[in-house]
């Protein structure tokens, strides 16, 4: 996995509202495959409107071909709206479950390490434990790297989900006109 700097240059987050109909995921993933666009991660979930689902797609492209990605996505009849979320303007989170080898000698170290990342211990066995962490994808990358020496047995990440950051500018201030 490439470092955060590379990610910022190539990763783009698309938040796509689609009609909740059979085959929509196949349409979207098929489009990416046949236009040779690379999906880095994909998360799909229902929204508060049962007719609509939200897909958060992280794509690996130059910005010129990102324009083609969004235009081609927009041509899909089931795609209602696409927002590109710039990492600085978005709240991004991802969920990770990771099972690490943890004997009596390392269990406390792993617990401490998990605490740094606000991870929860969700399962414990005789010689391994499962942690759950939610955070920004690069934080989870870091946690994954630090756990690796202990022996990662299984890992599952959800892919990133994101929403636009809320504006904290007061509406009053925004409406003030600049003097001519």
């Amino acid at each position: 996995m490439s470092g955060p700097a590379d990610n910022a240059a190539k990763h783009h987050i698309l938040s796509v509202l689609v009609e909740n109909k059979p085959g929509v995921l196949a349409r979207i993933s098929g489009l990416f495959a046949r236009r040779a666009f690379n999906i880095f991660s994909l998360a799909v979930s229902p929204t508060d409107d049962e007719r609509v689902s939200r897909m958060t797609i992280v794509v690996d492209v130059e910005s010129t071909s990102l324009e083609q990605v969004t235009k081609q996505l927009n041509k899909q009849i089931n795609v209602i709206k696409i927002n590109e979320l710039h990492p600085t303007d978005a709240v991004e989170r991802e969920l990770m479950l990771v099972t690490v080898s943890a004997g009596a000698d390392t269990r406390s170290q792993i617990t401490e390490l998990g605490a740094i990342f606000d991870a929860k211990i969700v399962d414990v066995g005789y010689d391994s434990m499962t942690l759950m962490a939610a955070g920004q994808p690069d934080q989870l990358d870091a946690m994954e790297d630090l756990l690796r020496p202990y022996g990662i047995e299984e890992i599952q990440r959800t892919g990133e989900i994101a929403l636009p950051k809320l504006s904290r500018e007061s509406t009053k201030l925004r409406s003030v006109k600049k003097p001519a």
């Binding site: 689609v18 009609e19 059979p22 085959g23 196949a26 349409r27 098929g30 046949r34 010129t64 324009e67 083609q68 235009k71 081609q72 927009n74 041509k75 899909q76 009849i77 089931n78 795609v79 209602i80």
Partner: protein
């Protein structure tokens, strides 16, 4: 009123004013074929499902109305994938209805089951698997709406057999509710004005008209703009007829086999008005070397085409007809503002006329020499009415027809552009003749193409659809042969077909057509005259032409358009033609 799904489907087609369906029945679509007996809709029984799809395309290209094809599940659905892909590439509005196994059997590998919506997803604008009988009228209305609006294209409705058999309470939806589908029609005012300014600045402008002009029914508007601003027009393979060939501003076809003037005027222009065209690789050649000095105004209803290949200075999304009508007004306004200070286009037009004179399309038919394909095509052209509809397959015969035919009316040229589907001509001509029964319809076909779909002439005879076929029989897969000659050191691999196996005259007669043969130049006129006099059955003329003829000019694939190769028999090679 209670109707079965099958009855509701046919009634929905009637509501959409469908006059003809091209199809072939089978197991899963059987219920839908029953109410067809009572329906006023004409059904044309094809001999292969691919034929049904191409007929629907030919019908749509000649009439502007969506073509409809209906076939069963499984192999029938896969047989119609080629026409769907062809229609997708050429933005042709067709509606294909396929049968599907019953809902309870879907996913069980049932007899004649295939994942039709899955297979056709990449080659349709949209498709639907009908889940409930109640949905049928709504889906039919949506399907026609999607096929015919925005950038037109093929759609498919997959109807499970039990959906056709179930009953529903009939209704017809008043409105269409598709929140994700709202094509942009009106162009951006500011951009149109900016385009008008560039038009009034340009010293060497060219209009690069594509198939979108025909789809938008914008030929009149195009002509108004070209005449107002005095801008020469090239018409791409998909736009032949969008601007009349007999107009002094018409430069003909650009691209890999375009004529010298059309290709070179684009290379040398300072303003390229791309109207409903998509910078296809067969037009641009090497993209980096295409129209290097030109500013580009790109008008297209599909936003994804703007900037896909070449980044335009002025992108305008919307319907070409509305945009061109507004552009005409914007150019008038801009001219009023500038008064006399407009660039003089006369030197540019002079230059173009010099190219036209120096580098015409050329061939030399000797009276006693072997028969040349170009001569046969020109004779068919000259002896047929001005508004004849001509269909072509794919290959040398297609390029010669596009180069040499005089298209003076829109919707008279029916061919397979983007996909390059051999075998397109015969079924497409049948579809065109079905939609325009009063017009003469010629299919100019190659011998390789003809063998792929000739059986549809049985359909034409049985249904009394009297098309005429000019078979340009050079006994080779000619375009492939041409590439092997030029780029594979004359190592001919699997391209020889034989001039008389099959015997095309006997084959035509076996299919109920009149079969004629021409072997010498003097045979040609009498045969065409006879063919044009027959109006009760199809005619096939087997033109035994010289296999050595090649299509020129030619820009080698991937090469820059400046490296255009002229026919070495008439033009010196290697020189810089433009100097």
């Amino acid at each position: 009123m209670k109707l079965t799904g099958a009855q509701a489907l046919i009634k929905s087609l009637e509501m959409m004013e469908v006059e003809v369906v091209f199809g072939l029945p089978g197991g899963a679509i059987l219920p839908v074929y029953d109410p067809i007996i009572e329906s006023p809709i004409r059904h044309i029984l094809v001999r292969h499902e691919q034929g049904a799809g191409h007929m629907a395309e030919g019908y749509a290209m000649a009439t502007g109305r969506p073509g409809v094809a209906m076939v069963t599940s499984g192999p029938a659905a896969t047989n119609i994938v080629t026409p769907l892909c062809n229609a997708y590439m050429d933005s042709t509005p067709i509606v294909v209805i396929t049968g599907q196994v019953a809902r309870s059997a879907i996913g069980s590998d049932a007899f004649q089951e295939c994942d039709t919506t899955g297979i056709t997803m990449p080659v349709t604008k949209h498709n639907w698997l009908v889940q409930d009988t109640d949905e049928l009228p709504r889906i039919v209305k949506e399907a026609f709406h999607v096929a015919t609006t925005g950038r037109p294209g093929p759609v498919l409705i997959d109807v499970p057999k039990d959906v056709s058999n179930d009953t529903m309470e009939w209704y017809w939806p008043d409105e269409i509710d598709m929140p994700g589908y709202k094509p942009t029609i009106r162009g951006h005012r500011g951009m149109i004005k900016e385009a008008a300014r560039l038009i009034c600045d340009a010293q060497r402008p060219v209009i690069y008209a594509g198939g979108g002009i025909l789809k938008a029914r914008a030929s009149e508007a195009l002509r108004a703009l070209a005449e107002l601003a005095g801008i020469p027009v090239v018409t791409t393979l998909m736009a032949r007829g969008a601007f009349p060939d007999d107009h002094e501003l018409c430069l003909g076809m650009p691209g890999m086999h375009g004529n010298y003037t059309a290709v070179t005027s684009m290379q040398k222009c300072d303003l390229l008005l791309a109207l409903g065209s998509r910078f296809d690789d067969r037009v641009t050649g090497k993209v980096d070397a295409f129209a290097p000095d030109a500013k580009v105004v790109h008008v297209d209803i599909d936003p994804a085409e703007l900037g896909k290949v070449r980044r335009p200075e002025v992108p305008i999304v919307g319907d070409a007809r509305f945009i061109l009508e507004e552009m005409v007004e914007a150019v008038k306004a801009e001219r009023d503002k500038r008064g006399d200070s407009l660039p003089d286009l006369a030197p540019w037009i002079d230059q173009i006329n010099q190219w036209r004179e120096r580098f015409p399309l050329k061939y030399d038919q000797e009276a006693s020499g072997s028969l040349l394909p170009q001569f046969c095509i020109e004779k068919v052209r000259d002896m047929s009415p001005d508004d004849t509809i001509v269909a072509a397959g794919v290959g040398q015969h297609q390029m010669w027809t596009s180069q040499l035919w005089r298209f003076n009316h829109p919707y008279t040229w029916v061919n397979s552009g983007g996909l390059g589907t051999m075998g397109f001509a015969v079924p497409a001509a049948i579809g065109a003749k079905t939609g325009k029964p009063d017009r003469t319809v010629w299919a100019v076909d190659g011998d390789g193409c003809f063998q792929m779909t000739a059986q549809e002439l049985v359909t034409a005879t049985a249904e009394r659809i009297p098309i005429k076929v000019a078979l340009i029989n050079n006994a080779y897969l000619g375009m492939v042969r041409q590439w092997q000659e030029l780029f594979y050191e004359e190592r001919y691999s699997e391209v020889y077909l034989s001039p008389d196996l099959p015997d095309y005259v006997k084959w035509a007669e076996a299919m109920g057509c009149v079969g004629l043969r021409c072997e010498t130049p003097s045979d040609v006129e009498p045969a065409i005259e006879k063919a044009n006099s027959i109006d009760d059955r199809p005619v096939v003329i087997d033109f035994r032409v010289d296999y050595k003829e090649k299509v020129y000019p030619m820009v080698p694939a991937g090469g820059p358009n400046d490296d255009i190769i002229m026919d070495p028999r008439y033009f010196a090679g290697g020189e810089d033609y433009t100097s």
